[in-house]
Point group: C2
Chain length 382, copies 2
């Protein structure tokens, strides 16, 4: 067997998520709990009645690609030719890492805390990944100086997920510009930024930065999974400058051939409907306010969510996050994701999702506060 | 960029298919022209109304996997745990090649003429692929002795596509057993066979062999694309013995996460409906008989189709297939795929698909016969 496959460890997120029982309060979920709008699926069904369900071009349906490119309007990434429709943004990220990096020479730079898939994919491809940790003191805010200081002559791609899974922090325009300007001043081959925008429609602060808007060497990945509660549709895309875009299509063609034609029709119906990408945004905004209220009253240390649907809370000093997550599952029937899954710098933290009904989130936070209070108090010496 | 991506050449099939005009007779198509049954899509839509569209397990929905495993009933490949649901059989083949072979050591053996994706995928993964040519004299029948003679100490996987794209030949049980028995007698690590069964429901002869039925080291890939005219659904699967199956799921999880939940519901509706996989089989059988009649009257040399929906015809001695395909497109408005796309041993042949209405196929064959007759006659010397 391929030793790169064998060497990849299992998912800590799934290890904990597997402890879920019928009664569990599940704050581990990484997917929306809202139902999707059926009207877009019905539109796709009607189109399928008329036209069957044949392959599209490898890169995806031309009309959809034009609509996606135009919707975001990032300079140089706004034409159909810059768009490749993918089987979820997961395939988009995978194909980007595989295509852009020469395993013999190039390195990936991950801004941590980071979604673990980036590191696993780079290992699968034999690509060296370096990490740069954002600062706990600064509540893991995106820090241009830290990121830039970690860029080496071998760095060809920096992965930034904003709004961030797990921290729920959002990169600002100022930080995007500081990074972009500095990278442009570097001599030699361009350093690309992969901006994973999957939580773009869940942004609760002003001044969010988008690399695609100002930095020429940007590749964007996104999908309908989080914006429209369509994780199971597996429909995402990459935006990339040419000729990178053409190379992504080539790799994608051999990995999965083309994205689902049915899913592409759902996506076209969404992109043709003004406001459809934001149809759940108000609910997330309200829920995020409620969460802030809950956490303020909990006594827990937390990072205020600026986007996505997570909130991260600090464990008492010295408590390991994996052990804490197991104890919370076993003794408190609460599922929470250990910070160590997102990098060493996130040890001592838990990622909670707050897509469950607010009463459940409240009860979950209350049990975690109870657990933390007990853990912080030394057991009495008898 | 990754040099393995850059080194892969474009698709000859797409180069010719791109010449299609509004008036073309298209015998290049590799997908069914029948409409799919809407009832399975409606069943999936109703389930989505009730349950939304969330992720499934990486390996796929447990009920679907159990149904797939049980349907084929291959010993050791018949439980849910041996099945991984994929984004089309394309991802199934890709993940199998990526997972099973160590690029530093292992080799793939391709039985040619072969669908070009296998070779492209192995190049993408840096895996050495060797090829073994079936004999033109024998109408490219699967030949156990030729295949076995090509197995080296480094061969870890043999790819067999039967019914075959492009030759439309079907491997027999006797040949499967001869290969399987000989491979079992070899010392050392097992040699796996990847049996690509995508045209399984288009089989027109008795005695078809299936490696999964008798050879323990088999991985099967298949999908709903050809059986149910659902190429655009992107729903396929692998069947593999454990622990190979577990490793395939691991790779698949990082490449695409999971197959479309909607597509999996369509598949479940199909596997729960007796005979649904064969719903188009009678049409293909009738069409294949009609094709045999056409070709017999055409004066062309051809390989009688035993399966799939192709027929291969020989060009006049010395005529290159790529040049012939271009001339047919440019001067006769007929799209046919050059044999060279499927390996050197298939130079001098064309692959025709016969999923178009029979009158169109008749006209296309007639024009090809005219072209071949003209090409075979030396121009008069003035």
């Amino acid at each position: 067997m391929n030793p790169s496959v064998q060497a990849i460890s299992g998912s800590l997120i799934r290890e904990i998520a597997a402890k879920r029982t019928a009664t569990s309060i599940d704050l581990g979920l990484g997917e929306p709990s809202l139902p999707p709008s059926m009207k877009y699926l019905l539109a796709a069904l009607r189109a399928t009645e008329r036209q069957g369900l044949k392959y599209t071009l490898n890169a995806g349906d031309l009309e959809l690609r034009a609509a996606i490119g135009a919707h975001y309007g990032y300079p140089g990434l706004d034409s159909a030719e810059s768009v490749c429709v993918m089987t979820g943004s997961q395939e988009g990220v995978y194909v980007t890492i595989k295509t852009l990096l020469d395993p013999a020479r190039d390195e990936l730079l991950l801004v941590e805390p980071a979604f673990p898939a980036y590191l696993k994919m780079s290992r699968l491809e034999g690509v060296t990944a370096r990490t740069v940790a954002m600062s706990e003191v600064d509540d893991f805010a995106f820090d241009a100086q830290r990121i830039l200081a970690a860029v080496s002559d071998r760095t060809r791609l920096i992965v930034v997920c904003s709004p961030c899974n797990p921290t729920a922090r959002v990169i600002t325009r100022a930080v995007v510009d500081e990074i972009g300007d500095a990278l442009l001043r570097r001599a030699g081959q361009p350093v690309y930024v992969l901006h994973d925008e999957i939580y773009r429609e869940q942004t609760y602060v002003e001044g969010a930065g988008h690399f695609g808007a100002t930095y020429a060497h940007t590749i964007v990945t996104n999908s309908l999974s989080k914006s429209n509660a369509l994780t199971g549709l597996r429909l995402g895309w990459t935006l990339a400058p040419r000729p990178i875009a053409d190379a992504l299509v080539k790799t994608h063609a051999w990995v999965t051939s083309c994205a689902s034609t049915f899913a592409q029709r759902v996506a076209l119906a969404i992109f043709e409907t003004p406001g459809a990408l934001q149809e759940h945004a108000a609910w997330y905004r309200e829920q995020s306010s409620a969460i802030l209220g809950l956490l303020g009253a909990s006594g827990l240390r937390y990072v205020a969510p600026e986007g996505a649907f997570y909130v991260c809370v600090a464990l008492p000093q010295g408590l390991k996050s994996l052990q804490a997550a197991h104890e919370l599952a076993d003794r408190f029937d609460v599922i929470a994701i250990p910070g160590i899954a997102f990098g060493d710098c996130f040890e001592g933290w838990l990622r909670l999702s707050w897509v469950a009904p607010i009463d459940q989130v409240r009860e979950g936070v209350s049990r975690i506060a109870e657990f933390c209070a007990a853990a912080a108090t030394p057991a009495p010496t008898i």
